[in-house]
Amino acid sequence: MEDRIIAQLKRFRTIEPSPNFAASSRRTILALRKEPVSAWYRLRLAGVMAGLVAIVAAGTFLFSGSNAPTAFASPEVLSQEFASMNINIELKDIDYSQNVSQTITSAISEISNNKGNHLNQGILQSENNDLSLDVTSGSSEIDRLLDKVVQ
């Protein structure tokens, strides 16, 4: 019985679409495809885009106002820029140092507070030693290096 069923199933292979349908469907489908995007077309598009980006970048570079290319050659302008940068760096350092100082101060005062609310005096002393940092050394070192660069 199974063999007969399988044999009958194989006979369905003779089913064919009507030639008219096949031809008209083929024509319609092939006409409906979007414009092909070939590899060569994509390559050309990429080249054009790269060119545009290069032109825009060059334009921005050449016509960007007072900081024209000659500025690169001027030691005065460079020095001014560097001086303003230096001030910014130092202001940041001051702010940072203040924060660090406050944090460390509160930590040390907490450590030194041994009035019964701390448990192990030995551990506290060890932490105290570890936190014996020279707070100002980092900032002064940076300032010294910057001064050296400016000179």
Partner: protein
């Protein structure tokens, strides 16, 4: 396979003739698959088949050649199109209410048959099977695809395909027996 790969590559670049050749090669098989899946309804089979190839043509750029035949990809699109078809039909019309008109192809085929099992009975029984069972039987016995090709098309393992095939045949046999011997039935005339 190498020729097919070249055709696919050209079709991906938008070459109409290349896709036309793929269409000519695979359309009859996809049509048969869809035709049997929609219960021998010719107009629906044509509509779905058209949609399948249109979708394939518009999305061929997303096809990645992984050593499997192009047909596996088409069968997958066709399977989804049939599911969509039934989903839509459920909203608008009850599937059971679709008229059971025997298609011209079925009738002309049946007339040529002098076997004890008639084709229409088989087709009706096939239609009652689960979609997975139908897919495997059509691909295996009508289209004579290998288990590997079927597995790729249905995104299942070859082992699963073998199991489905076994169960599908068993189920189909049961339905045929329930319907009675084909010779006891009158073949619908067009």
């Amino acid at each position: 396979m190498e020729d097919e790969r070249k055709l696919i590559s050209k079709a991906r670049e938008g070459e109409e003739e290349a896709f036309g050749q793929l269409y000519d090669k695979y359309m009859p098989a996809i049509y048969r698959f869809v035709f049997l899946k929609v219960g021998g309804h010719k107009a629906q089979a044509e509509d779905i088949c058209h949609e399948v190839f249109l979708s394939a043509w518009q999305n061929i750029g997303s096809f990645k050649f992984q050593g499997h035949p192009f047909s596996s990809w088409l069968y997958r699109i066709a399977g989804n199109a049939v599911i969509d078809y039934y989903r839509t039909r459920k909203v608008n019309v009850d599937i059971e209410s679709i008229p059971e008109e025997p298609a011209v192809e079925m009738a002309s085929l049946a007339e040529k048959m002098d076997d004890r099992l008639d084709l229409e009975n088989i087709r009706e029984c096939l239609k009652r099977l689960e979609p997975n069972y139908q897919d495997v039987l059509i691909m295996k016995f009508v289209e004579e695809l290998s288990n590997k090709e079927i597995a790729v098309a249905l995104e299942k393992s070859e082992g699963a395909v073998r199991v489905i095939q076994h169960r599908a045949i068993k189920q189909l046999k049961k339905y045929v027996e329930e319907n009675g011997r084909p010779n006891n039935r009158t073949i619908k005339e067009v």
